[in-house]
Symmetry: C2
Subunit: 217 residues, 2 copies
């Protein structure tokens, strides 16, 4: 059972081995993300796809609702090859989907969760221990609910620096089965989102798989 | 030079030793934070104070703009007493102040930065290594710019569970001098906010103290 995080780890290994061209692409994307925005997003987000089926990444996701941050999370005992450095994963969701979750305890159609990876630096400025987020975006993953488009209603996409879009991960990728089996609400890992878990508990929307995992502890 | 983070560490030690009464107060506050919000904040935030000079905490700060997360950060070599567990600090700012920073590279009057501490758990659900955010809010600190009200324009406040408000830290507290000497922009540690540091660099708003620290490396 390989999770989305493990997919990202593997993406990071690819990143580490990337060519100068790929690195240049990532740097360009980081610049796009830093482009000043005069106003917050005022209209609801709707997924847009290229003719090839790639997702056009939402550029204003840092203005969206923040859900949580993890550091070096892994669903296997050891994250091989990651011992030498640490990474933060920040999670955002589009505001209209967030409002719907607060009201209902689950996600509406056209939800997108954005997982943004950044380097976890330790030494820098006057910091002496612990970790802070440093530099540009290292990786981006998207989990999109588009009920009519995808079997299982949801799909995962991984940012591709070369195209500037996000590539669809095939339904056979293990992230789909792991999320389906273990995620707390509607294939999303709400058990790791501290402000949403109490809402799901109250609304009774926790998945059978999650409740079974918890009962087995 | 004790930083705001160290003030928080000391607050956490107090928290650990707190009475059941205090813990009940913290629990109530966590519940307030979880109250469903039907809509995003539509109007600009203005600081409100009690007659005693306490800050009335903004309840919708999780709908604001997310800046960054640190884990176990400390400006001294060792965070005494913190070896047995880890903590995430999430940082938010009011949207109108963020928009102004993006345009100018510095903070306008009526800025508030909110530092929210949450437990960094490691084992939970299917997670096997690394850390995720778990449970309610452990601590809240506020850094408020209110030019006419405070000497030095800014003040720090610490959430007080007993009153439900945030207490003003006296100007002699070391967080003021440390921020004044080392923070990258206008007494704020923008060097640890990955999306804002490039803006400050571009706008030429980095502080003399920060530039001196960097040059001395």
């Amino acid at each position: 059972m390989v999770s989305i995080l493990e997919v990202i780890l593997s993406a990071r290994l690819r990143f580490a081995l990337a060519t100068a061209c790929l690195l240049a692409g990532v740097a360009s994307f980081a610049l796009v993300l830093r482009t000043p925005r005069a106003a917050m997003a005022a209209t609801a987000w709707t997924p847009t796809y290229t003719a090839a089926g790639d997702l056009v990444p939402p550029k204003d996701y840092r203005d969206w609702i923040y859900l949580t941050t993890g550091m070096d999370m892994s669903y296997t005992p050891k994250a091989a090859g990651m011992e030498d450095h640490s990474t933060f994963d920040n999670l955002f969701v589009n505001p209209e989907a967030y409002r719907s979750f607060v009201a209902t305890g689950t996600w509406p159609d056209k939800t997108v969760l954005v997982l943004e990876a950044r380097d976890a630096a330790s030494r820098g400025s006057i910091n002496k221990s612990g970790h802070f987020q440093s530099g540009g975006v290292m990786d981006l993953e998207f989990h999109v609910k588009d009920e009519k488009r995808f079997p299982g209603k949801w799909a995962f996409f991984s940012y591709d620096a070369a195209s500037g879009n996000a590539s669809l991960l095939p339904q056979r990728a293990s992230c789909y089965s792991c999320h389906a089996q273990h995620a707390a609400v509607d294939t999303t890992f709400v058990q790791f989102y501290p402000t949403l878990l109490p809402i799901a508990l109250k609304k009774g929307t926790l998945s059978e798989g999650y409740l079974k995992d918890e009962a087995a502890k």
